[in-house]
């Protein structure tokens, strides 16, 4: 992984920079000791590590503003960090950067059930936003699988999704307002508790910009009343094609489940060995969940099972009670842990049109043989967001490189099939160099223009999202000015 070489002029100014930051932050908020900055050397993409120059942990929008103003004046790159759960290396430091962590900003600022919104500091974890409104039976809809740990700041940066987005959308569909600090330290307020912010959709462009446009310190989020109930059904098929056809028929019939999860045989085997959920051994397993009142659940499950039966399932299991529902979800929810038990793995998240599912799965199977690495597939079938898990052995020389090459080929395949490189994890550093497979130079130039507007000196998370060759001249402006 190529990263820009650190600017020696910045490295030489470490103590002067720390002194300036200590003048505006409490002493425990500036981390400069090499042993301690190491805690910020990577995020959940652990294959790449680099301790930052410094890390700061501000507690307020004002402190974030002070930090950014100083870094802007000093020409020092800043890498914002939520909870560090990015699977794409979104929070990977460079040796000459300041890591700006928002973890200490985790307060709920306002809960407003009448208007169905909550305002939080963005260091708050995703699940604890739902936790804050649970007593009134409300929840915050986007539910990335890291929701116990991941921060709202990171969710906004990556426009995170989750298993239930077929019905509820992703972060951008549930974000109504932000307080954001620009790289020069100025603070902007966008949107609020009203449904549509005026003017150009700046919220829309900020959400998913991977911390490159500003640091969001507070957010107004839409909260929803929990449905009366939810219930899953498990359906097994002896081919991926048939499972894909079943999903398509269910959607065409007008049923909109809240989740449609798909697992292939290698994944079923691993989950079964790990969690012993009692899954049938077959080629493709669907877990489909519907919600609503009891009558509504019955009705929807009736339609779903009727369609499923028409495709001759090898297994069809309805949950009779909460225990059985939990067992149906058990294997799926432990899929990643199960994989981790048997191997190192790389998790991809390309998205494809659901109609291309059988073709893409077949090609991945063929490519698995070519590269000599096994793949297990688990994904959100309703929205086409795949999660191929490539198994490799990190201790075997060359395996990681083969795995990365294989991963890149799978993502190119997703693009060729009419899909995209990443459905919910973000580009980060991981998929940065594949961007030209999805977009041509003019497409990327249009995106770069947006960064030029928000961060003209290209100091915020500058080595991410776009191939370094594409951004070199822009990042070079800063270097030349030093």
């Amino acid at each position: 992984m190529e990263m820009p070489s650190p600017n020696p002029a910045i490295l030489a100014r470490k103590s002067a920079l720390a002194a300036r930051l200590l003048a505006v932050l409490p002493s425990d908020a500036v981390i400069q000791d090499a042993a301690e900055t190491r805690a910020y050397e990577c995020d959940a993409l652990t294959a790449y590590r680099c301790p930052p120059l410094l890390a700061v942990l501000p507690r307020s929008t004002q402190e974030v503003s002070d930090v950014l103003r100083i870094c802007h004046e000093e020409g020092v790159p800043v890498v914002p960090r939520g909870a560090g759960t990015s699977l794409a290396g979104g929070a990977l430091p460079t040796a000459d950067c300041v890591i700006l962590g928002v973890a200490r900003m985790n307060e709920v600022l306002e809960t407003d059930y009448e208007n169905r919104v909550i305002r939080v500091q963005t260091g708050r974890t995703n699940l604890s936003v739902s936790g804050a409104v649970e007593e009134e039976d409300f929840f915050y809809a986007p539910d990335p699988s890291s929701q116990l740990a991941c921060a709202i700041a990171g969710n906004i940066a990556m426009n995170s999704g989750g298993a239930h987005c077929l019905k509820y959308g992703v972060t951008t569909n549930n974000l109504l307002g932000v307080t954001m600090v620009m790289m020069d330290g100025s603070v902007v307020e966008i949107g609020g508790a009203h449904l549509d912010a005026g003017g150009l959709d700046l919220l829309g462009i900020i959400c998913g910009s991977e911390g490159q446009l500003g640091v969001v310190t507070e957010a107004t989020l839409r909260i929803l009343r929990k449905p009366e109930g939810a219930r899953p059904v498990l359906i097994g098929y002896d081919s991926n094609e048939v499972a894909g056809a079943c999903v398509s028929d269910i959607i065409k019939a007008g049923v909109l489940p809240v989740a449609i999860e798909f697992m292939d045989r290698p994944c079923i085997q691993a989950c079964e060995a790990f969690a012993k959920a009692g899954y049938p051994m077959c080629e493709a397993l669907l877990i489909i969940e519907v919600e609503g009142s009891e009558a509504e659940i019955e009705h929807q499950l009736g339609l779903i099972t009727e369609i499923a039966r028409a495709h001759n399932p090898v297994e069809l299991r309805e949950a009779g009670d909460a225990d059985e529902a939990a067992r149906i979800w058990l294997g799926r929810k432990s899929a990643f842990g199960a994989m981790g038990q048997i191997n190192d793995y790389m998790c991809l998240d390309g998205t494809i049109p659901v109609t291309s599912l059988p073709f893409v799965l077949r090609r991945i199977g063929e490519m698995s043989k070519e590269f000599g690495l096994d793949v297990a597939n688990v994904f959100h079938a309703g929205d086409g967001n795949m999660h191929p898990l490539i198994l490799f052995d990190a201790n075997r020389p060359g395996d990681l490189e083969t795995c990365e090459a294989f991963g890149a080929e799978i993502l190119k395949l997703c693009v060729e099939a009419g899909g995209c490189l990443t459905g919910e994890h973000g580009v980060g550093v991981e998929k940065r160099d594949l961007m030209l497979h999805q977009y041509d130079a003019a497409d990327l130039e249009a995106q770069l223009k947006v960064k030029d507007v928000f961060d003209p000196k290209w100091l915020l998370n500058p080595a991410k999202v776009f191939p370094l060759s594409v951004t070199a001249s822009r990042r070079g402006v800063v270097l030349a000015a030093e």
Partner: protein, 373 residues
């Protein structure tokens, strides 16, 4: 009128333009900007429709009726329920999908299903330098690079001229049901909205139509879905409002369509004299806007969207004073529009960002110049 037949011709026209261009879809909203009219009428047609994947890719100049017809044949629809401006503005022409997207036009279901921008998966457009650009795609989850898709939606053509849009479509529910309260005042109507939207019954519409010629005002709450489920939820809602009983329940398709179209299109203001303003506020701030009883209002989005009929030339934004949100001048004569501005001026820092974005995408300032600021 300039009528490119494909993306390359559009790029040539923009590149060769020597002055401002007024970008026009169906021309149903009469933008009132000067310059040569650039019509998307030649960019029309369905490119891809996969009902099983809930996706539609269509050229921007395609008439909305054509899209609706195509989707209806598969029992699907655009869930964001775009309004039809023609009645309100006394305009004719055929609304196009590109116009709907450029203006982020969304109706009553916006509170539950989201706005047009929430259903837009991808765009192709030609920017002010004549450069063709694509962003997003045709899949529902896509975080590959910056989301220019959102930026283009609601940019009113000031960042580029859309050539293709891809959309998420949703199943058309089997049945709609509406509870109606007659003659509720603003505070009681707001209570109905809040209680209904806080309930677990998946309400897809909440609004109030003003009294018309002898009839009382109508406060309406809608649920949609399979027929049994709709009936169940209407029953549960009636129970919820034991102290504030609804006067009527409607499940006949035709009456439902009629009342929700009236709300969607602000029908009580069709053919009236005066200016029409559209205000977006926090729902509980509705009473601050409607409270003085000075003007007539149609309210949608559970209180969050307020249409107001105001005497010609009055600056309604001044009435809003400290209420957070914004007001758009939807119907007024050219003099009033020029004097008050169609869109509410943004706070300095946001106005500066928006201006720089427009300059980035349209360096010569030729695309609908002055429309948004």
């Amino acid at each position: 009128m300039l009528t490119p037949g494909n993306e390359a011709e559009l790029a040539d026209i923009i590149l060769g333009a020597r002055g401002p261009l007024c970008i026009q879809g169906g021309g149903t909203r009469g933008l009132g900007v000067g310059g040569a009219v650039l019509s998307t009428a030649g960019l029309s047609g369905i490119e891809l429709y996969e009902p099983g994947a809930l996706t539609l890719v269509v050229k921007s100049g395609t008439p909305l009726t054509e899209v609706d017809k195509l989707l209806a044949a598969e029992n699907q629809r655009l869930a964001f329920e775009p309004m039809d401006h023609r009645g309100l503005l006394g305009a004719d022409g055929e609304p196009t999908i590109g116009g709907v997207i450029a203006a982020n036009v969304s109706g009553p279901r916006r509170i539950q299903a989201g706005a047009a921008r929430d259903h837009l998966l991808g765009v192709r457009f030609v920017d002010g330098s004549g450069q063709a650009v694509k962003n997003g795609g045709r899949v529902m989850k896509n975080v590959t690079g910056y989301d220019l898709v959102k930026l283009m939606c609601g940019a009113h053509g000031t960042l580029g001229v859309l050539t293709d849009v891809s959309l998420k479509v949703l199943p058309e529910p089997e049945c709609s049901g509406t509870l109606v309260w007659h003659g509720l005042g603003w505070t009681a109507a707001l209570k109905v909205f809040c209680e209904a939207l806080k309930s677990p019954y998946d309400v897809t519409g909440a609004g109030r139509l003003p009294p018309v010629s002898g009839t009382k005002s109508k406060t309406v709450i809608r649920v949609e879905g399979f027929e049994d489920s709709v009936k169940d939820r209407l029953k549960a809602l009636r129970k919820l409002f034991a102290d504030l009983r609804p006067d009527e329940q409607m499940i006949e398709a035709e009456r439902n369509t009629q009342v929700w179209r009236s709300l969607r299109d602000a029908k009580p203001f069709h053919g009236t004299a005066g200016d029409v303003w559209r205000t977006s506020v926090k729902p509980t701030d509705m009473v601050k806007v409607t409270g003085q009883g000075e003007f007539e209002h149609v309210v949608d989005w559970g209180g969050g969207l307020i249409w107001s009929l105001v005497p010609e030339g009055v600056d309604f934004r001044q009435k809003l004073a400290e209420v957070p949100g914004h007001a758009t001048l939807v119907r007024a004569n050219a003099e009033t529009r020029a004097r008050l501005g169609v869109f509410q001026p943004q706070p300095g820092p946001l106005a500066a960002l928006s201006e720089k974005l427009r300059r980035g995408f349209d360096p010569r300032g030729i695309l609908n110049p002055g429309l948004m600021g």
